[in-house]
């Protein structure tokens, strides 16, 4: 028995080292198509640049958190014209689990006067894996990211995290900026694109089934803001009609978000033509110009930016 246990422990040690070595091979020389539960793709949507810039950030009036809808939907230059300094903390497929991470790590320390939490309902129904891999792939690994990875608990995440930790030390693989042609990073966290891609005008009808874990994380993030006495609004940025109307339970989702705080669904406030979208989910620059102007107007009427302007 003793011999068996000792042997098993030795084998576990050997196997752990072997595992790490093979993961490093997967991250470096094995073609990506051969790796199923591993995806160190180097990040996308300029996540690394955004968070590098955020690390140096001092004072800011307005902070945006959310998915690619956030980093493609809120242009700091437009807000600047209205006298509002802004930073965009959006990241690809950012689910409420990662939004809470962003709020905890950056926003509550920056103490902005207002936080806009952009909600893309479908991300309330995911496990948060894709966004977490984006953060890890962008080189953002700290104890909170590790803890969140354990909470999401997926082997793909662990493999990517293992390589990511090694890569952060030895810089074998560089972080990417974006996969999309025509994207430009604008200081303040925004990604600008003037393109309009042709997209499908019909989609399967579906309902968003909100995950209890995501909703709990979302509420916890809001509670944290309340505790820090930071004002926030929940906003659903517009996305294409065909995409928006494919969700069968939009009214139910609106009720849920309204119950959590001040909420605006711009899919119901604005009706933008398809040409103002980059794809069926994101605005392009023409769309952002109109949307941001409307947003500033809407929030000003509610006194949000009035308060900011007075403070400035």
């Amino acid at each position: 028995m003793r011999k068996f246990v000792i042997r098993l422990l030795f084998f576990s040690g050997f196997c752990s080292v072997f595992y790490v070595v093979l993961i490093l091979l997967y991250g470096t020389i094995v073609p990506a198509s051969f790796a199923v539960n591993f995806n160190y793709f180097g990040g996308m949507g300029f996540t690394r640049q955004r968070f590098d810039e955020a690390a140096k950030l001092k004072n800011v009036d307005l902070v945006i958190a959310g998915s690619s809808h956030a980093y493609r939907g809120y242009d700091p230059r437009i807000f600047k014209k209205s006298g509002i300094s802004m930073f965009n903390f959006g990241s690809s497929s950012q689910s409420p689990l990662q939004t809470k991470y962003v709020l905890d790590k950056y926003v509550t320390k920056l103490k902005p006067k207002l936080v806009i939490i952009d909600v893309y309902p479908i991300l309330f129904g995911v496990d948060g894996l894709e966004s977490q891999i984006d953060l890890i792939s962008s080189g953002l690994i700290d104890k909170d990211i590790v803890a969140l990875s354990f909470k999401i608990n997926n082997i793909k995440l662990y493999n990517t995290l293992l390589f990511g930790a090694f890569n952060n030390q030895f810089h074998i693989k560089k972080q990417k900026v974006s996969d999309n042609e025509g994207d430009t990073y604008i200081p303040g966290g925004y990604v600008q694109s003037f393109r309009h891609l042709d997209f499908k005008k019909t989609r399967f009808k579906q309902s968003v089934i909100i995950s209890a874990t995501q909703l709990e994380a979302f509420k916890a993030g809001l509670e944290e803001l309340r505790a820090q006495q930071i004002n926030f609004v929940i906003i659903q940025a517009p996305f294409s009609r065909s995409n928006y109307t494919s969700y069968k339970n939009n009214d139910e989702l609106d009720r849920i978000f309204s119950s959590l705080g001040e909420y605006y669904n711009f899919n119901k406030i604005l009706n933008l033509p398809d040409s103002m979208y980059y794809d069926d989910s994101h605005l392009n620059q023409q769309g952002v110009n109109i949307y941001n102007a409307k947003l500033i107007d809407t929030l000003s009427k509610r006194g949000h930016f009035g308060k900011l302007a007075m403070a400035n």
Binding site: F4, F11, I23, A35, N37, F38, N154, I155, Y158, N159
Partner: protein
């Protein structure tokens, strides 16, 4: 608690350590511990069904004793039939009631008579088919005078409920398992290492082969009318590997786990896809069930004795009953019927025992004749699996009909990743190399330097981590 879950990875080492730590306190404590662990393991699915398991155990335990103590044959027969009818009654209610009710209504519907079936909304208790068959074999063996009843209730309960085999077999016999439960067990280093190796291979089969093949098979069979002939063939092939990886993987984990506790379970699979005829296939596929039906149904019916028509009748009976054992659906019955049909020629020509040895024994490659026989047998099993996997007989016929269209010669739709196909080929190559062992990697690398051998096992572990399906899935045979 699934074998391929984190919960089991915690549960098993704890029970293993406790089991060998209490070894010095005697066999009784070890058996009590194993029984408690088994009940805990079972209650992780649904604790309510634990009462059913305990009731079934009590029934067979007491009827076994009553048969032994019965004064005359009438009383002995009474207790025997009480046990058999209650056991089959439970199985009937939980597994087959709705099937019979719906089939009854449907058959009257053909004559224009409209009836309303009163179906019941029951959840099938996990493992009921397996532990019922454990109990039945025990009471039948006592009735036939092959064994004496077990008087120690803990030992008997452990025979029925031993956690590695509780939910999906192998279906044990009292003559094989009970003596091991009653014998003092000493820790055997080689057996424990062998058990770990078998668990590892079982996990590989389940997590990599079965789950990855399932993804494609499910895609195809869930919308079979949308796909081309070549896609349907690939889907059927993927299911063929899925069910083998799933069930034989489960059996390997169960047998390997039992070895850690010093217990040998019956072998359940012996590389069935390398069979040269259907009779050989059925000697190598789900061996513990096939031999159960052979011993408790086929032989009592007359077996191979009697004229050719008797043998054909008996063959059809056991295969159709075997199909029905798998589930309350006509697809399983047709699957059993087809297998009987495929095996009949060898029964008639008395060639059903011509391939008893492992194929190409002592050689690396099979002869052309052996290869042809294996391909033919494999193709027949694939056709039968189409019925097993389909949701209805109509779907099965649709799949077979649509395979033979011109689209058979087009590229399959959305094929699995090349890396998965490559792993499948490597897997079958390892199975082929290791076909003379009890499981494929039993003897692989035993003569290699330890570092190389450990690297081989580590590669399997890395592959599990790299290619496992992240969604997780149940074992197919849990539903039976």
């Amino acid at each position: 608690m699934l074998f391929n879950s984190l919960n089991f990875a915690v549960f098993l080492p704890i029970i293993f350590c406790l089991y060998w730590l209490v070894n010095r306190n005697g066999l009784k404590i070890q058996n009590i511990l194993l029984l408690a662990a088994s009940y805990y393991f079972y209650s992780c699915w649904d604790y309510r069904f634990l009462f059913l398991l305990i009731f079934s155990t009590l029934l067979d335990y007491f009827t076994g004793l009553k048969m032994e103590d019965a004064k005359g044959i009438k009383m002995k027969r009474f207790w025997f039939w009480l046990s058999v009818s209650v056991n089959l009654g439970f199985l009937g209610v939980f597994k087959y009631y709705n099937f019979f009710a719906e089939s009854f209504v449907s058959s009257f519907g053909h004559f224009g008579i409209k009836l309303h079936a009163s179906t019941i909304n029951v959840i099938l208790p996990v493992g009921i088919s397996f532990y019922t068959f454990h109990g039945l074999s025990y009471v039948i063996d006592i009735y036939k005078g092959r064994i004496k009843p077990e008087r120690n209730f803990v030992d008997y309960s452990l025979f029925v409920s031993f956690f590695p085999l509780l939910v999906a077999g192998p279906i044990e016999r009292a003559t094989h398992l009970l003596p091991q439960i009653k014998r003092k067990r000493a820790f055997d280093y080689s057996k424990a290492i062998d058990g770990c190796r078998q668990i590892l291979w079982g996990l590989f089969k389940k997590v990599i082969i079965a789950d990855n093949c399932a993804e494609y098979a499910n895609m195809v069979f869930n919308h079979s009318s949308n796909y081309s002939g070549s896609t349907l063939v690939l889907g059927a092939l993927m299911f063929t590997f899925q069910i083998y990886g799933d069930f034989s993987g489960y059996s390997d984990i169960a047998i390997g786990t039992a070895k850690l506790f010093g217990i040998d379970l019956l072998r359940n699979f012996a590389f069935p896809y390398f069979s040269r005829d259907m009779a050989e296939f059925w000697r190598r596929w789900h061996i513990s069930l096939s031999s159960w039906f052979k011993d408790y149904l086929y032989i009592p019916l007359g077996g191979s004795k009697g004229n050719v028509w008797m043998r054909i009748r008996n063959t059809f009976i056991i295969f159709i009953v075997s199909g029905f054992w798998h589930g309350a659906n006509w697809t399983f019955i047709i699957w059993g019927f087809l297998n009987a049909l495929f095996i009949i020629p060898s029964i008639v020509m008395k060639t059903n025992r011509s391939n008893l040895e492992t194929v190409a024994q002592g050689r690396l490659l099979p002869s052309f004749k052996e290869l042809t026989q294996m391909v033919a047998t494999f193709s027949l099993t694939v056709i039968a699996w189409i019925f097993f996997r389909s949701a209805s007989i109509g779907q099965a016929f649709q799949v077979i009909r649509d395979i033979f269209r011109s689209s058979l010669f087009t590229a399959p739709h959305n094929p699995p990743r090349p890396v998965i196909l490559l792993i499948l080929i490597i897997f079958m190559a390892i199975e082929w190399i290791g076909r003379e062992g009890r499981y494929a990697i039993e003897n692989v690398g035993l003569t290699w330097p330890p570092l190389l051998r450990w690297s081989f096992y580590s590669v399997i572990i890395v592959f599990i981590g790299m290619y496992m399906q992240t969604g997780g899935s149940d074992f197919i045979y849990f539903q039976f």
